[in-house]
Amino acid sequence: MVWIWAYNMISGQYFDGKSAKGKTASLSWSSIADPLVLLPDEKLSFNVEVKSIQGSQVFFIDGSSFMGNATLPVEFCAVYQSPLLNWIRQVEVFSVKKSIILGVCLILSLTVLRFSVVGLAPILTSLISQDAEISLGQEAYDVMYDQHFLPSKLSIEQRKSLQRSYDELWTESNLTHKPTLYFKQAPKIGANALAFPGGPIVVTDELVHLLRDNQLIEAVIAHELAHVEQRHSLQKVVIIAGSLAIASVIFGAEEGFSEELVAVAANVYAFQHSQRFELDSDQYAVDLLVKAGRDPLAMRQSLEVLMATSPDDDALSLFSTHPAKKERLAALAN
């Protein structure tokens, strides 16, 4: 049996790799041999191994190249590129159906990554020693102290009373170390309580004035103890760092503003996890109040007071580190 192999011809220019001057040439190729460059003027022909194919150009292993008069045919690329590259080129060819399939795969992959980061955050956080977390929290507190806190003007009796309640709540918690509880004036922050990684916990004078009732303040302290015990601050750092790492890896191939925007989007996305931590802490606070023999409804009442003084702004929910108070109240009601 005799096989007859068809040779195909492509017209273009040949560059010898030493000069930019091209020579009119033809490229003869088949599926069984290296391509043959034919130079009609010099009646010269030679076989060369392909190094890479780029659009209308084919670069050979000896440094020479051939530039076709049009984009090189797919069949040519199929013969001289590795099977893996051919597969990638096939995937790249645009069609609506393929784009939809690829888009769905992309969304699925992103979803898997999203849950991986959230799922891995507690595990990664557990690898960080408690001492490191406490020193991180102390550093953060020192920075905030200089910028936002002033000595408390609450009476010594009131502070002592709240400190006793805190001691009782802490005894019922699962914390092995005891975070320091501070009372501070914070005109810039306002009515608020803050839990730094590993402690300390800060309750502002403004919050005490707003809630008035010690039971309601205890509920807020129980909520902050939950943040410390469940290492929420550290988990947030891990989630933000993880989201940014994934975003920069995925969009590493992109330069310019898309990468920057993804970094911002990753931060906004990380805010959402903060909201989950708040709901968890509310529930934990209720349980802790019950264990300490306090009224569990205090958590709900403290939220209601906060809601009365500063209602939710739905437009801001995307950016909020806390879920809407309405949502928190509904969760507590359940």
């Binding site: 000069s19 925007l261 437009a315």
Partner: protein, 344 residues
């Protein structure tokens, strides 16, 4: 020697690039980021291969492995520095000091790498860096811009572009740069000073209004959340101003570079039209959640490319014939390490 004007040509299509972009993203995720090095090569090749000067396109010859090596090198350095900072703070300070002075050298390596891997008619570009000049361009001049509150920023940008482009050569011919400082000052005034000042005025007005309206001193947990959208908008705005400034600086560059006796460039880019394209691209990307990135990139690249006029002399063919490769492309692989793309 007669001169004829001809635009650069861009033959890319959004549909083609969309497929490349989407598969790049997907393969990058599936390979946990490893493919991103190859994705970068693929993306650059698409734009280079579809940009034509005098009926010949450009080539890009980096390989994914080279880019990956560069990234791994950076990552290793970063981890090593962090470990040093944790366990040997004193040594870390010293290493940081060394890195400060190593920066310009690394930038030169990166520029050399990128030039060497770009070809036109199968002849590679070359970049010959100078440490002291790079130190001035990348460290001293930016520092001077900061301490003069931006007054010297146009001088610094012009110095940097001048440094980079006057040291690029093709086939033994250096690129000449004639960048007008007045143009850079005009551009800085219009595209940076004006928008930033307007923002400052607007922010002051809004701040005083909100101060008057606040009826109680009590803020709450939501204090940060309430300013977050404004911070987000501010970030986008400043980022956009910086982005537009960078693009316009590049357009100025194409008014002032030439290869003597062979080719010079000019541009017919209309600033208003380009700004409109950049703004609509920006909005399209945001509202399509990134899906229109390929369309925006192709649109911007096409507009800029096709409005850069090239004036090739009739001696261009002679110039091309005379353009000789200084270093054989054969053996490029052995020079990988000293030319890794550090992503600088």
């Amino acid at each position: 020697m007669s001169i004829q004007a001809k635009p650069l040509e861009f033959k890319g299509h959004t549909s083609e690039y969309f497929g490349i972009w989407l598969s790049n993203l997907l393969l990058t995720i599936v390979t946990m980021g490893i493919y991103s090095a190859w994705a970068k090569v693929r993306r650059k090749q698409y734009f280079y291969n579809n940009t034509f000067l005098e009926e010949a396109n450009f080539g890009y010859h980096a390989t994914g492995i080279q880019i990956l090596k560069g990234r791994l090198l950076l990552l290793t350095g970063f981890i090593a520095l962090n470990l040093l900072a944790t366990f040997f703070p004193a040594v870390y300070g010293l290493v940081g000091f060394v890195f400060f002075f190593l920066g310009p050298y690394l930038i030169n390596l990166s520029l050399q790498f990128n030039a060497r891997l770009t070809s036109y008619r199968n002849v590679r570009f070359h970049f010959e860096g100078d440490y002291l000049e790079a130190f001035l361009a990348y460290i001293v001049m930016p520092f001077l811009s900061i301490i003069t509150l931006g007054l010297l920023a146009p001088v610094a940008v012009r110095f940097l572009l001048n440094y980079v482009w006057s040291r690029v050569s093709y086939g033994g011919h250096s690129i000449d740069t004639h960048l007008s400082l007045t143009d850079f000052y005009k551009l800085f005034g219009i595209s940076v000073i004006l928008p930033v000042t307007s923002l400052f005025v607007l922010a002051s007005v809004l701040f005083s209004l909100s101060f008057i309206q606040s009826d109680s001193g009590i803020s709450d947990n939501y204090a940060i959340a309430s300013i977050a959208p404004f911070l987000f908008a501010l970030y986008l705005y400043i980022f956009f101003v910086g982005f537009v400034y960078r693009i316009f600086c590049m357009t100025l560059l194409f008014k002032g570079i030439a290869i003597e006796g062979a080719i010079h460039f000019s541009n017919t880019i209309h600033p208003g039209r380009l700004l409109l394209i950049l703004i609509t691209n920006f909005l399209a990307i945001i509202f399509s959640l990134g899906l229109l990135i390929p369309w925006a990139q192709i649109r911007q690249h096409r507009y800029i490319t096709e409005h850069i006029a090239t004036y090739a002399s009739t001696d261009f063919d002679e110039f091309v014939a005379d353009a000789v490769e200084k270093q054989s492309a054969f053996g490029e692989e052995f020079a990988d390490f000293d030319g890794v793309d550090l992503g600088l």
